[in-house]
Subunit: 211 residues, 2 copies
DNA sequence: GATAACTTGTGAAGAAATTCACAATCTCTC
DNA sequence: GAGAGATTGTGAATTTCTTCACAAGTTATC
């Protein structure tokens, strides 16, 4: 299989969201053009993105909304439940734990951890906060797939190492630092400071014009 | 001026973070090679990124840590304070309002808004929550630069429209939907569901190998 | 002040992503 | 069942991004 660009995966995710909208509105079929318009891209881009995975449309007609949505769910691996733990029960961690959009999309939060003994034992959204030390012991038992890191900057790497040692396969990092993991571990970082700096750059340099 | 790629801006932001680390460790100069190693990129990439903005190094020697950091701050527009409002005082909004990393980097939170009358008047991190209706009236007075959207999916577009009408120039969107703004308004979206789906894709399709 | 050891800045080459453009195919209508 | 109209799937062209590779400049050493 050919290497798939990250940008392609992001767009697939978007397309799926739009398809669900269209499905809710009762539409049965949709063209690459309509999908592109909704997502701010081009019809050629939509068709190329899909072409990496097969051919799902009918010439002259477009795509069946329900079928394409289902195919995209398969491609994105959303046909199953993913078991997620949140490490760090501070403001961000707690907010994430209580965000029900995750469960809705098949990401089930099965544990919340913190290193602060004062927090251990308290409950967040129906889950009891456990000590980080227990991580390794719990991981296999709970069949954890994904660890969400919501810890302070200086704790991020050590905690990531712990999770990797416990056998985690994917990490989503909200700590404002770059962390390093073995390459067989999937990693995504969301760094809000960096995003804000991106806005700052745009504001400072104006809309950048070619030439 | 040539168009600068978003990926370049993200890397500049990273370089700055590393430079601050190096500065704290008392290093005076650094080579593109060392900077690249820290950031998981190549020295050629570092030099190319910087070359869009000028030439800041000394051949044979490298870069002055302090000077390059200062230049990057200028390029990224971090030499000034940016005035930020957070719209939506739910879990995410409140967590963001209390995150002091922003202030530290020059992003000053000057207002928190919510549409829920029950929340209006309460305080978050020293700021009184105001009604969304007041947005337009407050914007100019408070010289707001950036609006952070932390509202539910269905409120995102209407609230963004409100902010745009009030004259906002940049929006950072945490709502799990795509929003549309006029092209002179800078927009960044952080969609956690989408990031998780990216991980799901990687887990499902394995590390993707070329060919 | 000549030589060796480094390291930048940048055109040119290469790779990757996007867009173009059109043959192939499907539906609908008469 | 033939013709008109629509839309896909995909090689080829184009554009964008990354890497290569090397001349030019700097410092240190003897």
């Amino acid at each position: 299989m050919k290497r798939i660009a990250e940008s392609t995966v992001r767009r697939l995710s978007l397309y799926l969201r739009f398809l669900e909208e269209f499905e809710a509105r009762g539409l049965a079929t949709i063209s690459s053009d309509e999908l592109a318009a909704r997502g701010g891209t081009t019809s050629a881009q939509v068709r190329k993105d899909l072409s990496f995975f097969g051919s799902f449309g009918k010439r002259g007609l477009g795509y069946s909304v329900a079928e394409l949505a289902s195919r995209l769910r398969d491609i994105l691996g959303l046909g199953r439940q993913w078991r997620v733990v949140i490490i760090g029960a501070g403001k961000i961690g707690a907010a994430l734990a209580q965000y029900h959009g995750f469960r809705q999309r098949g990401f089930m939060i099965v544990g919340v951890y913190d290193s602060d003994p004062a927090k251990v034992g308290k409950r967040v959204d129906g889950l009891t906060i456990r000590a980080v030390d227990q991580l390794a012991a719990d991981f296999r038992r709970d069949a954890v797939d994904i660890a969400v890191l919501a810890v302070p900057a200086d704790a991020a790497q050590p905690v990531a190492d712990l999770a990797v040692a416990a056998g985690i396969r994917a990490i989503m990092n909200f700590a404002p630092v770059q962390i390093h993991v073995p390459e067989q571990v999937a990693l995504k970082t969301v760094n809000m400071a960096m995003e804000l700096e991106g806005l700052s750059f745009l504001l400072t340099n104006g809309r950048i014009v070619d030439n």
